[in-house]
Symmetry: C2
Subunit: 413 residues, 2 copies
């Protein structure tokens, strides 16, 4: 994009170190308690103390404060209502849960032809999403007006919940630090849009922006197929093929926020030219529309029906062979590059991909460099087409879990 210079000093702000004082400690531990409960790492005071390596006294102070602010709910897990706090006297411990809608975020998903918006809470509860098409004439102003209208609509439909932030998941490329949508190819008349500032000014809420693959990966970690994982890769096969990479429970961004573009590994020097400038990029063999075009069909329903025939047409089988070869190379490359614990396949017809999952998992695990020492599971996305929208909210929740985004309660306590 002419004139847009990410090498300038201001592009990646020197991350301001969190001031590690008592206030930091307090926030940090409170966020850790929320995170542990939200992600089901612990469900009572004893488990929290063990998981977070804190004293029961410290845990109880935090839990009691969050309970008094109606963020944590305490439930006696048995009939014994008078159970003592410390009671190891045979009584079951009080179960802790997060109150529904106590912490709520707005999720925005910018796709190539539409924008969606919904409310989500810290437990992954959602209200029905609202979607608007982006017509051919849509420009920057149209996009921002649409987003603002959608937000107002979902807020008005459920006005009583306090919102703590807005997350935006979008097709790329993005400047996630300045919160700008840059210049996606074939994206109506939309380019170089400041997403963050107008929304922050209008709604007086913090806004976070990240690309759809990264958001989907985080959503699968928090609410989908990756729960209880630490290191996962989400591979998405929509218009573009790319990865959202979670390492140590955090999105892998790289320096400019562009990491994970594994669809543009060139796997065939004499393959077809790719708009990126290379030849034979993996994306050309593995994205949905190319799979269909290569098999000479118009839908996955049609393709699945052909593949269930006793003798599918030879040219269909040939196109599938080419597809599987490319998937093999992609998945081994991803396993070798990131070494995840699980790999999640998304943005692809589930009946189609399910057909090949055992083969893909077997090939990858027997061809990655250090095979034999570990096994990487391959599973389809649990959130399916909703992953990216859940992900928009997940990037806000991550800031809560890391103590970056303060809770709507006094910091002192």
């Amino acid at each position: 994009m002419p004139g847009y210079d990410m090498t300038r000093e201001s592009f990646v702000p020197q991350p301001k170190k969190a001031s590690k004082n008592m206030q930091f400690l307090k926030n940090s531990n409170r966020s850790a308690v929320l995170c542990a409960l939200a992600l089901k790492k612990a469900s009572n005071r004893t488990e929290l103390a063990s998981y977070l390596n804190l004293t029961r006294m410290a845990i109880s102070n935090i839990v009691n404060e969050l309970r008094d602010h109606a963020i944590i709910l305490e439930v006696s897990s048995a009939e014994n209502e008078s159970e003592s706090e410390h009671g190891p006297n045979g009584r079951p411990p009080k179960q802790l849960t997060l109150a529904d809608w106590s912490i709520t975020v707005i999720c925005i998903n910018i796709r190539r032809y539409s924008v969606s918006c919904m409310l989500m809470d810290i437990n992954g509860n959602t209200r029905p999403p609202v979607t608007r098409c982006l017509p051919a004439h849509a420009d920057n102003a149209f996009l921002m007006d649409t987003i603002i209208q959608l937000i107002e609509e979902v807020q008005q439909a459920f006005p009583q919940v306090p919102i703590i932030g807005i997350g935006v998941s979008s097709i790329g490329p993005l400047d996630i630090y300045q919160k700008h949508l840059l210049n996606p190819p074939d994206f109506r008349n939309i380019r170089n849009v400041d997403i963050g500032a107008p929304l922050e000014a209008r709604f007086h809420l913090p806004v976070y922006l990240d690309n759809d693959m990264n958001c989907s990966a985080l959503a699968e970690l928090y609410f989908g197929a990756g729960i209880s994982c630490r290191d996962l890769v989400f591979l998405g096969f929509s218009a573009g093929v790319g990865a959202g990479v979670i390492m140590n429970e955090k999105i892998l961004h790289g320096f400019g926020g562009f990491a994970g573009e594994v669809g543009h590994i060139s796997i065939n020097p004499i393959g077809p030219p790719c708009p990126c400038g290379q030849n034979g990029c993996i994306e050309l063999y593995t994205r949905g529309e190319n799979i269909l075009a290569n098999a000479g069909v118009v839908s996955f329903e049609e393709l699945n029906a052909l593949l269930e025939q006793k003798n599918p047409p030879r040219f269909v089988l040939n196109s599938i062979k080419q597809y599987i070869d490319a998937m093999h190379t992609l998945m081994v490359a991803v396993a070798n590059s990131y070494d995840p614990n699980i790999m999640i396949l998304g943005d692809i017809d589930i009946a189609f991909i399910n057909r090949f999952l055992p083969d893909l998992e077997e090939y990858m695990n027997s061809h990655m460099l250090n095979h034999g020492y570990k096994h990487i599971k391959v599973i389809p996305s649990a959130l399916a087409e909703a992953a990216s929208l859940y992900g928009a909210g997940s990037i806000v929740l991550q800031r809560v879990f890391e103590g970056e985004l303060p809770l709507p309660i006094p910091a002192g306590g």
Copy 2:
């Protein structure tokens, strides 16, 4: 490796959360001061306070304590020796440096045919390394005996310095969590060696193990071509081709410690078979010995001389063309996968690679997916063949900088 099951529960220990109490704060801030001074992020109290977002009082308490333990040195930067501590009265602030050999580590580097050992301090000062060959009959016991002898030798040659830990950089595959060397191909009679426990028992020091690419990358970040960077990739081209990836100043390990194996991206489905089971892996086109074999020469001196001729032989030019094509694909794939700020090329003849650096940098920056928004620099390794040995010490220093490894001074203070 038969019987070695990394999928077992114990393989990746559930990381024990640091207990975030006052002691944690104290350690954490002290380590951050050491790190900031070691990595030249700050050189006086004012800069430390600003960089770490702490009060001058907090900084001064830490600095004074470390000064009293002879770890930090204070140097008046002008003749004015009576400069006041807070003095913004026109006097230059006192410069802070880390005392040479105040914090010292033992570096071990296990290569295919040799083992090296040296002492290094927190400033990157080193004592001359000592190297032993691994003869053809070397087995597990021989390796461990050699390492122990080397450590005793370097310690005896410089006995007055207190050692805080042992870092081991090694060819892989490794179990970095259990500190085991697994089963490297063609590695004498050495396999499945417990590196950590015997050294810890013998020397009563903490031992850390990581693979040579990761160690080299960290060494370049701390002491080499990557100083002042945050996200870098070190590409190494020795017997195997692979990457050490630094994201946010930390090594990217993945779940099992196997991330960064980018040499086994298959870039040509009809290419030569690779021992990993795929065809046409990048490693086959880009590692040193294959570059020489393909050009029909026995050394880089010979190859460089041929390339300086007015009309180099056609078959040499053809082999170089194939090499450059593979390097292009590799570097674009790495840029797209990790989005680093700089890329460092190591373990390769410097006169040879320097010849191609401008082309490699230009091609990568114009063919990575989101080109035009940023520029990734490509530079040769500054530490060259010493990178991996410096890296062995760097993985110990990283534990100091993160507060995981306590300093040899009282925790209270």
